[in-house]
Symmetry: C3
Subunit: 199 residues, 3 copies
Amino acid sequence: MTLIELLGVLAFAFTGIIEARKKGMDLIGVYGVSMMTAFGGGTIRDLLIGHYPLFWIAHSNYVLILLGFAIVAALIKAEFYENPHVNQAFEVLDALGLGLFATVGASIAQQNGCDFYISVLLGVVTGVFGGILRDTICNEIPNVFKRNELYATCAFLGSTVLLGGLQLGVDVLHATLVGIAVTVLLRLVSVKYRIKLPF
Amino acid sequence: MTLIELLGVLAFAFTGIIEARKKGMDLIGVYGVSMMTAFGGGTIRDLLIGHYPLFWIAHSNYVLILLGFAIVAALIKAEFYENPHVNQAFEVLDALGLGLFATVGASIAQQNGCDFYISVLLGVVTGVFGGILRDTICNEIPNVFKRNELYATCAFLGSTVLLGGLQLGVDVLHATLVGIAVTVLLRLVSVKYRIKLPF
Amino acid sequence: MTLIELLGVLAFAFTGIIEARKKGMDLIGVYGVSMMTAFGGGTIRDLLIGHYPLFWIAHSNYVLILLGFAIVAALIKAEFYENPHVNQAFEVLDALGLGLFATVGASIAQQNGCDFYISVLLGVVTGVFGGILRDTICNEIPNVFKRNELYATCAFLGSTVLLGGLQLGVDVLHATLVGIAVTVLLRLVSVKYRIKLPF
């Protein structure tokens, strides 16, 4: 779980860095946006269920690692971030962060006594909230609220698969990996083929 | 109290649904906005006083009921939401939600040991915060912050009437009903006759 | 600490009042913005570390004092707030609030068991978050996120000086005063000479 969380933190931190640099922010802005993207979803989940201490306060390595990334990113030329490959990387990292955080979030909610459906919802919240903060601060309409490719829906299905699997007796590792795969693949397929909800 | 809370959740959820559908959001967007409107005020109050578990996490029926409403609402044609009667219903439901949540919020704050004036303020916060989230996400300036008809003022007076009544020895049921009536009527009268604060 | 907190509340409350009156808000709007500016940073810090009751809920005098200020401010003519001296006062009060809250925030975080770097960060959060709320509600881009004069950086250095001083054995009073002075002076110098981060 800690490994998945770390990977999710890194994936979302990079999306925050890319977005903030595209907007021409300086080191502090980049650092702030990357932290809010990486820690936002887990923080809101932990506040909602009263789960203290928050994970990034308990593991202060996270904030130091992100400081290192922000310094490197701020030193790279602004043109780099306009590169279309960077845009593609952004989409993949965002999908990855969504899947990693949604499944971790759903698991933690369930371990803290939330019932099935609330746990699924808190998985979605964990997955999408960091991106909402990132986009709001960078003055973009958040992906989740656009009539757009599937986003929250992917996290919803991924969390449901994970928790459903656990209930059917699948072991945690396999259920989690399948939950992550469902979320990430569904998101990437829906971005590629512009799949939207019918209503 | 639970009944009043349920009615408040429904009233605010409908306003969230109407606003989100007017903006052309899809099912997930409508569901998200309706939940934030319905649960936002109570959540911020509970976080501020450290009152766990949050009411909608403890009663997971709420989130399932709202899912049902969101599905029905997303199936209804977009033109329906442009209807002027729907706009009137929006104002009445919003006033009702304001009154129901302000009085419940003030009571809960007082039961958790807040003093008179802080309880009144937390009543106002409970009443207005869901609408602030709804309007911010839907890119409208929140009602509370416009130089406009009375809004927070109504919740302020309603909460004061309730808590003042309790202090004067009125029983909870009557004090609550009068508090709700004061808030709702004052809001509707002020919308109808465009009453504003003098300064 | 309580005195420093009170001064910080007053300084930030005034900046909230000035900003809200400039936007033409009425009494309730001015009151709301002044409370969010003055209590926002401390509230988010206390929520993040799970430190209850929140300081403004425990000391209800604060909210009553701000109500008095908001009434006086709402009675003063709108032209007053366009005065360039008021703008200068705004900058000084904002710098003062930043320094006072950053040092108090870092101390409280450390007393609640956060390690050195997390405490510095929570000092920054306490210092800047009230201003973020104020500017977001008043539809301005928050100072922190603009490529602009130093802002969060000042709070970062001030908090580091305070906590570093404590670790080196300096007494709390002197370390706090130096931390505040570093933050405020750095901010004012950087506003006057338009000093920015190099990247």
